[in-house]
Amino acid sequence: MDNLLIDNIRRRNRTNTRLKYIIIAGAVITVVPIFLIVGNLALKGYRQINLAFFTEPAPDTFQAMMAASSGEVIPGGIANGLTGSLLMVIIASLVSIPLGLMTGVYLYENGTKRYASFIRSLTEILQGVPSIILGIIAYLWVVRNITRGYSALAGSTALTIMMLPLIIRSTEETMKMIPVTIREAAFALGTPYYKMIIKVLIPVSFSGLATGVLLALSRILGETAPLMLTALGSPSVSLDVTRPVSAVPLLIWDFYNDPNMVNLVWSASLFLMVFVLSMNLLSRSIASKHKYI
């Protein structure tokens, strides 16, 4: 009897140890590529990262060729891409963050009604649409009809349509985790409905909402395909929403297509990767700091 028990425990311990190693191996397999990518990019791209990299627009082919042939650092940087990305992301955020939060709260509050489930299905479908198709839609709506040419506004439109479903879903999912008793506590104090939403639901779920928004942002920051059909790209810094602008991922594509600018591919990619990674880390730190539910 005793021997059987000891045998049993031994077997369980062995299974336990084996599983532990499998889990560690899994973790290593996931983490190593990230370090390899960042390390590789850093090694190949660090030389280009200096002040000019952030303050000067992309060089033209001739400048790049001259530098490349004499083995110097390629002049210029990604300022036109940075400003273009920033411009489009800000416009997309101004529309999609409030609209997405409101729609998410609406869906949560009216979850079972028929038009709510209709909007929810629409959101789910939208989330699955390939981004290039959203680019084509923005092209048809904005490029053809509104700005009558490639423009930052068209790019923002495509990015807005991408961000919206992400924010709506994360908002609704976050709200679902708030216990009903918290709402009741607010109502029992006479709090009107809209104040309950603004002063209780949103602050209580702040970490989830912020995480959703930041993940949506980091998702669209790297989008290239829809911007090719909308923002097009621009060699100089421009803040005119009705004109074409560049974006960091568009620049990476441009650099890639010019054999003299390969070095800039690495540094621009390094920048984008580090930026998106820090957004993720930031969202994690916010999530843990303001986590109430």
Binding site: P179, T181, I182, E184, A185, A186, F187, A188, L189, G190, T191, P192, K195, M196, K199, V200, P203, V204, F206, H290, Y292, I293
Partner: protein
């Protein structure tokens, strides 16, 4: 029995019926009174409509969209239904079964939440005073005065529940409604809450839903016994427990169902 009628009751329930779905009544034609500065216990087996009746007293039952209410409830002689819910809920506060402090707020903020959520501006010294008074009244002050600015959720369950009582009385209500406030607590925390209610009835009128008969016997002055939505029997706790008039009350008190 006689002095029940010497003072105007705080709450007067008249022919109250409540249905969550048309035709299915959770509370059936209930008429009752609640005396000032007393503890009234509402007892009965689970599902008999205790919570529904209690929540009607500050119109929390109206949160359900298809609810149907007939009859009336008078607070100090005036019907509560034409009142604004803000005004009503300031006069009739509520504490729930599970402690539910706002998780994003500090202990201090939780106590004055009724004011901040309704945009009622207070001076800092007024706020400090309300917080200290409310926390003293629920015997929590000495335990938390060092950490007023920590989150309320860091307290133990019993402390959280007392914080919720403090949040309700910070509004200085007339009536305090409690729906099984100790059912999620351990015996020590429970007895603290019970002692507290005995103190609080000097200032407030208390209506307490409980499925714990001995609790009702220990702390209440008046009792109501409900069964299947009906108010079977109501009266002084002592009378109701020693000489119940209705066979169903007797069956419940002797543990035949429930």
């Amino acid at each position: 029995m006689s002095d029940t009628h010497t003072t105007e009751p705080v709450l007067k329930i008249e022919g109250l019926s409540i249905a969550y779905e048309p035709g299915r009544y959770a509370v059936k034609d209930v008429s009752a009174t609640v005396r000032r500065n007393s503890i009234t216990a509402i007892m009965g087996p689970s599902g008999c409509g205790k919570s529904t009746l209690l929540r009607a007293m500050n119109r929390m039952h109206e949160l359900y969209p298809n609810i149907e209410t007939r009859g009336d409830i008078l607070l100090d002689g005036k019907s509560i239904f034409p009142m604004s819910v803000i005004e009503l809920r300031r006069k009739v506060g509520m504490v729930f079964q599970r402690p539910n402090p706002f998780p994003n707020m500090t202990i201090y903020e939780n106590v004055v939440a009724g004011y901040s959520l309704n945009d009622i501006r207070l001076k800092k010294n007024q706020r400090d005073e309300i917080v200290e008074n409310a926390l003293r009244n629920v015997t929590l002050w000495d335990e938390v005065k060092e950490f007023l600015f920590r989150k309320g959720t860091f307290l133990s369950g019993g402390q959280q529940q007392r914080l919720c009582v403090a949040r309700a009385i910070a509004f200085n209500p007339e009536v305090l409604l409690l729906d099984e406030p100790t059912s999620a607590l351990d015996p020590i925390a429970t007895s603290k809450i019970e002692d507290l209610l005995g103190e609080l009835k000097k200032k407030y009128t208390i209506v307490l839903v409980t499925h714990n008969m001995s609790q009702a016997a220990r702390i209440s002055d008046d009792s109501m016994f409900m069964y299947l939505g009906e108010l079977v029997e109501a009266g002084r706790t002592e009378t109701l427990f020693t000489t119940p008039k209705d066979a169903r009350t007797e069956a419940y008190l002797t543990g035949k169902f429930g």
